[in-house]
C-alpha cells in the first residue's frame, strides 16, 4: 500500500464510526419523517400516500394555532427577555460594576445543571396552593384562601411557564456574553475612556458592534431551543389544562404516541423544522443589515 492510499484509508477509518451513527440516526430519519408526513401511517400496515392533507389539517386545527402562538411567545421571551437580561448581567460583570462578581455568576448560572424535569416539578410546587408564591401572596394580601388561578385562563396559562424559562436560561446567556466580552481588546476601552467617552458611548460604539455576531448566534440558539421546548412544559402541565399550555412539540408528541397518528405527527415535526429554518433566515437577514451599519 502506498503512502497516499494509507493516508486515505486512515482518513475514512477516523470518520467512519461518527458518520455511520450520524447518518443512520439523524440524517436518514429526517427523510423518513418527511416521507411519513405525506401519509396516513398509523403504526402498522402499509403507509398510504395522502399528499399534503396532514399539513392542511394541522394548519386549520385550533389546538395547533394556539400551540404555535405559545411557541412564538417562548421565542419572544428568549430573544427579547433572556438575551437582553443576560447581556445586561454580563455587561455589569465585565465592567466590574458589582463586587463579588464571580459569586453572583456562580449562582445565576446554576440552573443550567438542573434537569428541566426537576425544574418543572419544583416550580409546580412553588405555584401550588402550598407553595412559596401562594404563601407570600396570602401573607401580603391578608386573603388566607388565595389560590393561583392563572393556569385556568386560556390566554394567560403560558405566562408562569415563560417566567420559569426566563429563570432557567438567563444565566446561560449571561455566561456566553461574559466569555465573549472578555475576548475584547481591553486597550480599546481604555483609550476611549481616556478620550472622555461616556459609558453609553462605549457601549453603543465599541462593545455592541463587537458583540453583534455573538448576540446573533445566541439568538439562533434561542430560536431553535424555543421551538423544541418540550421537557419543561411536558412535565409541568403536559400541555394542559385543555391544551392551554400546549406547544408544537407536545402537539406532535400527543398525536403520535397517544393517538398513534404517525403520519400526522411527522408533519407536525416537519413544521417545527420549517419554522426554525424560517426564523433563523429572518434573523440572519437582520444581522447582516446590522453588521453592515457597523462596518
Amino acid at each position: 500500500m502506498t503512502f497516499s492510499q494509507q493516508k486515505r484509508m486512515s482518513y475514512y477509518l477516523f470518520l467512519a464510526p461518527g458518520l455511520l451513527l450520524f447518518a443512520s440516526i439523524i440524517i436518514f430519519p429526517v427523510f423518513y419523517s418527511l416521507s411519513l408526513s405525506f401519509t396516513s401511517f398509523g403504526g402498522y400496515g402499509r403507509p398510504v400516500f395522502i399528499g399534503l392533507e396532514n399539513y392542511a389539517r394541522i394548519i386549520r386545527d385550533e389546538v395547533f394555532l394556539h400551540s404555535l402562538r405559545n411557541n412564538l411567545l417562548i421565542v419572544a421571551i428568549s430573544v427579547f427577555g433572556q438575551i437582553p437580561l443576560g447581556f445586561l448581567l454580563a455587561y455589569l460583570l465585565y465592567r466590574r460594576m458589582v463586587r463579588h462578581g464571580s459569586l453572583y455568576q456562580t449562582m445565576i448560572f446554576l440552573p443550567i445543571t438542573i434537569s428541566p424535569v426537576v425544574v418543572a416539578l419544583l416550580w409546580n410546587q412553588i405555584f401550588s396552593s402550598s407553595g412559596i408564591v401562594v404563601a407570600i401572596v396570602r401573607k401580603l394580601s391578608g386573603q388566607p384562601q388565595y389560590v393561583m388561578k392563572i393556569f385556568e385562563n386560556k390566554q394567560w396559562a403560558i405566562f408562569p411557564i415563560l417566567c420559569v424559562l426566563l429563570w432557567m436560561h438567563t444565566g446561560t446567556y449571561m455566561v456566553i456574553f461574559y466569555a465573549n466580552l472578555q475576548k475584547m481588546v481591553p486597550s480599546l476601552l481604555e483609550a476611549a475612556q481616556i478620550d472622555g467617552a461616556s459609558e453609553s458611548q462605549m457601549l453603543g460604539h465599541i462593545i455592541f458592534p463587537h458583540m453583534v455576531g455573538t448576540i446573533a448566534t445566541a439568538a439562533i440558539f434561542a430560536i431553535s431551543g424555543s421551538l423544541k421546548a418540550f421537557d419543561l412544559i411536558y412535565s409541568m402541565t403536559g400541555g394542559g389544562p385543555a391544551h392551554f399550555t400546549e406547544v408544537i412539540a407536545i402537539y406532535m408528541y400527543i398525536n403520535t404516541f397517544k393517538y398513534y397518528k404517525y403520519g400526522f405527527g411527522s408533519a407536525a415535526s416537519m413544521i417545527i423544522v420549517l419554522l426554525a429554518v424560517g426564523l433563523i433566515l429572518i434573523l440572519q437577514y437582520i444581522t447582516g443589515k446590522l453588521e453592515q451599519r457597523f462596518e
Partner: protein, 276 residues
C-alpha cells in the same frame, strides 16, 4: 484608585442580588422541604423543618425505584459520552488535518445536524428501534445519545485541532509513525483541555436528556433519572415530602458536579456562540 459609589453601582448590585436570590431561594426551599413530612409542608410551607426527617429520602429511593434510575443514568451518560467524545475527536482530526476536498462537505453536513432536533426524528427513530428490537434496551438509548452529541462536539474538536500546528504531525509521519499513532500520541495529549470541556458538556446534556428515554423505553428497569423522577414525583406520589426528596436526589449530585466543573461548563456553552 478607589471608585466612588454611584447610583449605577447600587442599582447593579440590587439587580445582581435579586437574580441570585431568585435562583437560590427556590432551590433552598426545595432542599429544606425534603426534610419535612407531607402534613408539615402543606400546612406551613414557609417554615424550616423542625427535625432532620430522613424518611422521605429512604421511601423515595425504594418506592420510587430511584436507585435503578440512578444507575441507568450513570451507564447512559458515561458510555455515550465516552463514545461521542472519542468519535468526535477522530472525526475532528480527519476533518482538520487531512485536507481532502470531502472534509468541507462532511463538516457542513455536521453543521446542518446542529439544526436538527430530537423531535424531528423521534417518530422514525421509534419505528426503526421497534423493528430492530432495540426499543426498551440500553443500547437503544445509548446509540441515539452518541449520535445527537456528535454535531456540536465534532465542531468543537475540529476547531481546536485545526489550531495544532501541522508541523507536529509531519515530523512524526516522516519518522515513520502511522496516522493512528499520531492521533493517539500527539493529537489527544495536545487536545486535553478541549477534551475535558467536551466530556463535561456532553455528560451534562446526556444526564438531563428526557424525550428520547421517555419515547424509546417503557420498562422501569431501563428508564433514566429524569424520566423516573417525572413519573414518580409528577404523578404516582401525592406525598409532597417524597416528591421533594426525589427532586433533591435528582439535583444535588448535579449541583456538586456544577460547583467542581463550572468553568468547563461555561466554556462549553461560550464556545458554541463564538463567531468564526
Amino acid at each position: 484608585m478607589k471608585k466612588p459609589i454611584t447610583i449605577t453601582n447600587i442599582l447593579s448590585n440590587v439587580l445582581m442580588m435579586t437574580f441570585s436570590l431568585l435562583t437560590i431561594i427556590p432551590l433552598a426551599w426545595m432542599i429544606l422541604s425534603a426534610f419535612k413530612p407531607h402534613a408539615h409542608i402543606v400546612r406551613h410551607p414557609l417554615q424550616p423543618p423542625m427535625t432532620w426527617y430522613m424518611d422521605n429520602f429512604i421511601l423515595a429511593w425504594t418506592q420510587g425505584h430511584l436507585g435503578i434510575y440512578f444507575v441507568n443514568s450513570i451507564v447512559y451518560s458515561m458510555t455515550a459520552t465516552v463514545f461521542t467524545v472519542l468519535f468526535a475527536l477522530s472525526s475532528g482530526y480527519a476533518l482538520s488535518k487531512f485536507h481532502y476536498k470531502s472534509s468541507r462537505i462532511i463538516s457542513m453536513f455536521y453543521m446542518l445536524g446542529l439544526l436538527i432536533t430530537v423531535h424531528s426524528v423521534i417518530i422514525p427513530l421509534f419505528i426503526m428501534e421497534t423493528n430492530l428490537g432495540l426499543a426498551n434496551t440500553r443500547l437503544g438509548v445509548i446509540l441515539p445519545y452518541i449520535a445527537f452529541g456528535l454535531p456540536f462536539q465534532v465542531f468543537l474538536s475540529t476547531t481546536y485541532i485545526k489550531g495544532i500546528p501541522d508541523a507536529m504531525q509531519e515530523s512524526a509521519i516522516i519518522d515513520g509513525a502511522t496516522f493512528q499513532e499520531v492521533f493517539l500520541k500527539i493529537i489527544i495529549p495536545v487536545a486535553t483541555p478541549i477534551i475535558s470541556t467536551m466530556f463535561i458538556y456532553t455528560f451534562l446534556g446526556n444526564w438531563n436528556e428526557f424525550i428520547l428515554v421517555l419515547t424509546l423505553t417503557s420498562d422501569l428497569t431501563v428508564r433514566s433519572l429524569p424520566v423516573g423522577i417525572n413519573s414518580f414525583a409528577g404523578g404516582m406520589s401525592r406525598d409532597y415530602g417524597l416528591q421533594f426528596a426525589a427532586l433533591v436526589i435528582g439535583t444535588v449530585p448535579m449541583i456538586i458536579f456544577y460547583l467542581i466543573f463550572k468553568d468547563k461548563i461555561a466554556q462549553g456553552f461560550a464556545s458554541g456562540a463564538v463567531k468564526e
